[in-house]
Symmetry: C2
Subunit: 620 residues, 2 copies
Amino acid sequence: MGSSVRRLLLGEPLPTAQETYHRLSKVQALAVFSSDALSSVAYATEEILLVLVLAGTGALQLSTPIALAIAALLAIVGRSYYQTIHGYPSGGGAYIVAYDNLGTWPGLIAAAALLIDYVLTVAVSATAGVAAITSAVPSLYVCRVELCVLAIAFIAWANLRGVRESGTVFAIPTYGFVVIFLILIGVGLIRVLTGNLTPVSTHMESVPEAGVQSLALLLVLRAFASGCTALTGIEAISNGIRAFQEPEAENAGKTLIAMVALLATMFLGITFLTRHLGVAPLEHETIVSQVGRQVFGRGPLYLILQAGTAAILILAANTSFADFPRLSSILARDRYLPRQLANLGDRLVFNNGIIGLALLASALVVLFGGQTHRLIPLYAVGVFLAFTLSQSGMVRHWFRVRGQGWQVKAVLNGMGAVATGIVLVVIVASKLVHGAWVVILLVPICVWFFHAIGRHYAAVAEQLSLEGLEPEEWGELSSSRRHKVVVPVSGIHRGTLPAMRFARSLSKDVTAVMVDVEAEVTASVREKWATWGHDIPLLVLESPYRSTIGPLLDYLRELDHQEADRGLAVVVLPEFVTASRWHSLLHNQTAQLVKRILVYQRGEAAKDRVIIDVPYHLRR
Amino acid sequence: MGSSVRRLLLGEPLPTAQETYHRLSKVQALAVFSSDALSSVAYATEEILLVLVLAGTGALQLSTPIALAIAALLAIVGRSYYQTIHGYPSGGGAYIVAYDNLGTWPGLIAAAALLIDYVLTVAVSATAGVAAITSAVPSLYVCRVELCVLAIAFIAWANLRGVRESGTVFAIPTYGFVVIFLILIGVGLIRVLTGNLTPVSTHMESVPEAGVQSLALLLVLRAFASGCTALTGIEAISNGIRAFQEPEAENAGKTLIAMVALLATMFLGITFLTRHLGVAPLEHETIVSQVGRQVFGRGPLYLILQAGTAAILILAANTSFADFPRLSSILARDRYLPRQLANLGDRLVFNNGIIGLALLASALVVLFGGQTHRLIPLYAVGVFLAFTLSQSGMVRHWFRVRGQGWQVKAVLNGMGAVATGIVLVVIVASKLVHGAWVVILLVPICVWFFHAIGRHYAAVAEQLSLEGLEPEEWGELSSSRRHKVVVPVSGIHRGTLPAMRFARSLSKDVTAVMVDVEAEVTASVREKWATWGHDIPLLVLESPYRSTIGPLLDYLRELDHQEADRGLAVVVLPEFVTASRWHSLLHNQTAQLVKRILVYQRGEAAKDRVIIDVPYHLRR
């Protein structure tokens, strides 16, 4: 029944042969890979203002220079990633680039940073997407946490079914959002320039100038750091180069440029409009929604804007649902995460990674009350750590690979590394106490965890290795007739006879062992043994404390020390299997317990044992 | 570690040989067996008044005739049980008497009724005991539920350690309670008769006479029914006759008479005093405590009274902790309850029964807010059902056994049966809507449950029976060399070699089977097979949906249909066992899953399979 529910929810299993790659045109690829980056314009400006407003409304005017600085950073990082795309045309995620060029530890740090940020991307995108909805429909504000979790569950479900990254499906919301957002900025700018739109009066208490001054530098840095969330997702194209049509790197590079240009335009546009309309952050309505209402009024265009914003944010979360399982499966294949994460499910997706991501992101959303601005201090730390490692790795790469004009390339990537490194320091320093410490703590924990797992798998591989063994030696056979076979019985009946017969077919040396718990039962078994025991001797073990298992284990332990020259110690367990699982509650299940103990317990004197289960199936 | 904590809490295991019976003198036996019966005087009068007070304070005077009726009932039932003791000198619990004389169904009904009432005895005694404490220390009233659960946990712990029913330990609280209670009644009566003690004014609103009249009959019956809780526990001696010194039945009979006399005296005494002092029930203080305060003042005698009351109630709960596990172990031996309940633990007590009782009683206490009067409507239904069945069984017994003066005995038991039967009807009718329906519903459910379990065990016994089998046929041996042996492998390494070698020692017909999930792995195994496979052929199974288990199960199913003349189908599973349980989380554990499926799944064409586990232990 569980299996048919599964089919209904997730669809029929897909054969491995169906795992093909659809190549994307540039227009499709932009839609597929840019949702994460572009969607950040929905909250980046607001996060800048939320910090600045702490120093009073006067400080809000700083948003323009901060936005310009971020746009400049965007250009540098974009240029740097353009290099990466050409340097790693088969896909250059931060983990691969750092691992290849800087070594294991930087690779693992980049991986940890990325995994953490994928979780945060889902949480931030879900809360921001829900905020876009609740701005338009304020009555939904009270159940925003539930809506976020629902949204995450929906995306997880879609991914478990296996949404192929189909360019067409992604194109509608992505380009829809871009178009409505550009219309917003265009119409807004025209109306501002023609004096058609007047600033709203901000209803905020003004803070004395002295207070503002003293806080200025740290606050400006924090505002800048918060705004840097606009850069998240810019690396997406460099991970997915293989999805592009040929020439892959060429097309990917051009798409990257288009994306960076769009992102910079939209981000600067909305920040500029916000300033000129004098919009300040409110608890129940996003900045974008406020700007939209003033420019469009409460008409259909406004509703399209909010719906488009929510849709692209959902798509952005969806991107992480592709990236997180993919990266964790790569780590699992490299033996730094449990193997289960490397298993392709029957719908050709990494089920465990998808479920894990959904659970982690949902936990974050609940923990932070579904509020974007409370999650932001944790965000971007991981991304910029990965950026820095990846760009540094590229510098190293050019020094090793060389080739035409490698010096220029190294300098460009170096600029990227330095810029993102500085931003990383700024982010950590300005947001440390506001939550960044969590990430700073988590990264080394994750890395230690990866390392411990890697060490365990290496130890296992070493122990299982055939090195030092001789095939000839393993070809020699001792006869099974020399094995010492023990059959624990609790009585003599149809459930035990098959086990006894199998034991006799196995070896000449068979002993049946019975633990004497109830005197009458033992006496009755002894009596029947004359008829049914055939040539197997019955050994009755005393059990002063009425334990059925203790005396048996003691006896087996003793056996291990006897007769060094015999074959293996073999335990044949008769087990009667009830017709239903419920029935099994009515039986003592000694056989199962013995089986588990014997498998897990190493024999004494380093002797391994063989455990044989002879089931007898009850029909009722 | 779990085992040493267990030792610390419960003590060293005890050998079976220590299971001896201490014979009790009459004085000791009275202490051991009467706590349940005598302790009911702590609440029975109060429960009568709590019902009468609903008709106004005027109705309280009805308590005297009601108490007299209950005393008369007590005499009849006592006389009847005196007969039972002589009819069943080896112990005549209601289950045994009803089962023996009336058949399976009445026996099971009596058993269900008794088990339910044992649980209620624990709950009622614990809440009433805690009420005695909180009456003296009112500040503890708020945490009465916690105190009740703590008390139950304490008694359960003592019983898990194995408190022997030591007469000396029981004598102090029992006789202490009897003495202080008799002093209370004696001093109280003298002071009342000498006019030294005047009634308190009752602070209750008077109800119009009309209302009282219309409710009278039903209320009086309900008050009587509530007071009948005084009879609970009277059957204890008849269950424990074998603990008496010789002549057992003689001594038990005399002890029963003494107990009934004491119970009647104490119950009538406290009821009479209560009336003459004009005491009415209060929420935070028991009747006994109010009477005690007026007779003794707030001095040491009062505190001894309260402490003694609490102590005997705890002992009363303790009685159920001996009876419930004992009855359920008898039922388990008769195959009407799961076998686990028949297991003597390593401290010679029925652990599972004790733990089950503690959990059920605690749940009741929590559910009913630790208030005695809310539990009372459920109480006594089971006891009187068991009384009626047991006395009816005795009538039948005398008709069958006959012997000297059997007609008189039959009449006396018949009177008991009729009296308790009528009371049962009164209790059910008057308390049905107040909670008795729960018990009325539970009894048939329990009986159905017993019956279903009994049927299952009978079916198993029949299926396991050797009837119809020929010992000679089972003596014939087919050689193990004819078994069809399958070794599922996921690779070739030190973990799989021992299983392959064992399989080769077992049979000539061995096939290694590998499921092709990853093409590279399969290719590498094929390559190594030339060196390490020796004479075992490797069969690679396709897995279009990447399942490792599905294709293997399909293959085995196919095998079942082949070669009718070969030996058994044997699956040899190589299983590497990690050094720690945590490590096992990092592996797919396919062997374990396959093992479980193969054991539980019946082979096709009714062919049983043998599953062999060859563990390879990792050291790190």
